[in-house]
């Protein structure tokens, strides 16, 4: 392993292969719980915990899991971590748990997590899988923070509950409603696509999957 590999494992998920903004995975929580910064942070941390825990466990057990039942085994591991996170949140921060509601349980089917097990943790060492999960987890938190900052500031005039524009601001309510989530994500992906197109002027044939396919390939090689 080259000395730069560890750094690469860690940093890849933050931006270059950001799970939400580049790989466009895990969009359900990204759209559903980003109407306030507080919710976004709690969701990000819960997902981060599940992702890191599952990746470490899956990579350490990868020799014992028969290929035929690997997905079942991954889901079992992920669901266990989610249940633990769910009960812990309920015990420690009941208010936030109430806000997030069913979306905590839905982390089980967040495809970022299953994708990292299948594409990375299942074939790499525990240490590399840990770094990858930390990077991807932070990447998810960054994406959620970007989303919910825009939505809470415009849609409620506040950031983490503190007023940003003063009392005379008329909240742009649609931004905290579901359509606002789609608008924000759409413009964000547009920005990223424009930016990566400019950085990498190779013709991508305008295929929406082009960026994703390319990066995934790099990830598994």
């Amino acid at each position: 392993m080259k000395p730069t590999a560890a750094r690469e494992d860690l940093l890849r998920g933050l931006w270059k292969e950001n799970p939400v903004l580049v790989q466009t995975l895990g969009l359900c929580p990204t759209l559903a719980v980003t109407n306030s910064v507080e919710n976004g942070i709690a969701m990000g941390i819960a997902t981060f915990f599940v992702l890191v825990g599952s990746s470490v466990l899956v990579s350490s057990l990868r020799k014992f899991i028969p290929n035929e039942v690997r997905i079942t085994a991954y889901i079992l591991i992920i669901a266990t971590f989610v249940t633990v996170a769910d009960m812990t949140l309920q015990a420690v921060v009941p208010v936030i748990h109430k806000q997030l509601g069913a979306f905590i349980a839905l982390i089980v089917v967040n495809c970022i997590i299953l994708a990292r097990q299948e594409a990375f943790a299942a074939k790499n060492t525990v240490w590399r899988s840990f770094l990858d999960a930390v990077g991807m987890g932070f990447g998810f938190i960054i994406a959620l923070l970007l989303m919910c900052s825009v939505r809470e500031v415009l849609g409620n005039g506040t950031f983490l509950g503190h007023s940003v524009f003063g009392p005379n601001y008329e909240p742009w309510v649609i931004m905290v409603l579901p359509p606002g989530g789609f608008f924000t994500l759409g413009f964000m992906l547009l920005g990223i696509a424009a930016w990566s197109r400019r950085k990498n002027p190779k013709p991508l044939r305008a295929r929406p999957h082009a960026v994703t396919m390319q990066t995934t390939q790099r990830a598994v090689v």
């Binding site: 039942v69 591991i77 249940t83 015990a91 109430k98 849609g155 090689v221």
Partner: protein
């Protein structure tokens, strides 16, 4: 991108015996189950404590300044302080009552839940049986439209409108009331949520009012 690169697809090498597949998943399931039980046992006391604390705080907000709080149970269409031995109190509907420093009954706190515009609205309200007035109202749970329906929680004019309102309550549009004591001004733009909120209180009193009356006549034993 071939299936091989993903590590997915057809299993490599000789097929594994079904026994190994089943035993692997059984062991995984058993460990996951054990872990969940342990975490459940560890978090349950603090989850229950949080719920009790939240209820108590809500009661204190609608029956302000009580020195002593007591839980009453609705058992066989009767309001009782003590259920007969052997009856489980957990599934019973509860009404809370508060005494001031001199042992005088201040009123009752009643919880009600009904479907709102989006998901259930759960609220608690204080009720003075002697004057048949509402003492205060607090929405505990709701998922109404942000910026519109959720004003039933934050709009202080609406919330304060319940204080000392005579029952049964009547929701009126702002400026269309006649100034009678049973009027509660509804929120512009949140008529449905306001009407449901008022309805919950009326329905609960319709049902529980006679029980409270009977309880008071029996000497509040």
């Amino acid at each position: 991108m071939s299936a091989h690169e993903h590590g997915a697809g057809a299993p490599a090498g000789p097929s594994v015996s079904p026994f190994k597949l089943i035993s692997t998943l059984t062991v995984f399931g058993a460990i996951a189950g054990l872990l969940i039980v342990v975490v459940f046992q560890a978090t349950q006391p603090s989850i229950l404590r949080n719920q009790a604390a939240a209820t108590e705080q809500a009661i204190r907000q609608v029956l302000v300044g009580g020195a002593q709080y007591q839980t009453l149970f609705v058992h066989e269409d009767e309001l009782v302080a003590q259920v007969p031995a052997g009856v489980d109190t957990v599934p019973l509907e509860k009404v809370y009552t508060a005494m001031d420093g001199d042992g005088q009954r201040m009123g009752y706190a009643i919880i009600g839940t009904e479907p709102g515009f989006a998901d259930n609205i759960k609220l608690i309200f204080g009720y003075d049986a002697a004057s048949k007035q509402v003492l205060g109202m607090l929405v505990i749970e709701q998922k109404e439209t942000p910026g519109l329906g959720d004003k039933i929680v934050k709009d202080s004019a609406f919330v304060n409108g319940f204080i000392r309102a005579a029952t049964p309550l009547r929701g009126v549009k702002i400026g269309q009331g006649k100034g009678t004591p049973d009027e509660v001004d509804m929120i512009t733009g949140a008529t449905i949520s306001s009407r449901i909120t008022i309805g919950i209180i009326n329905h609960q009193l319709e049902r529980l009012g006679p029980l409270i009356e009977a309880y008071e006549q029996a000497g509040g034993a």
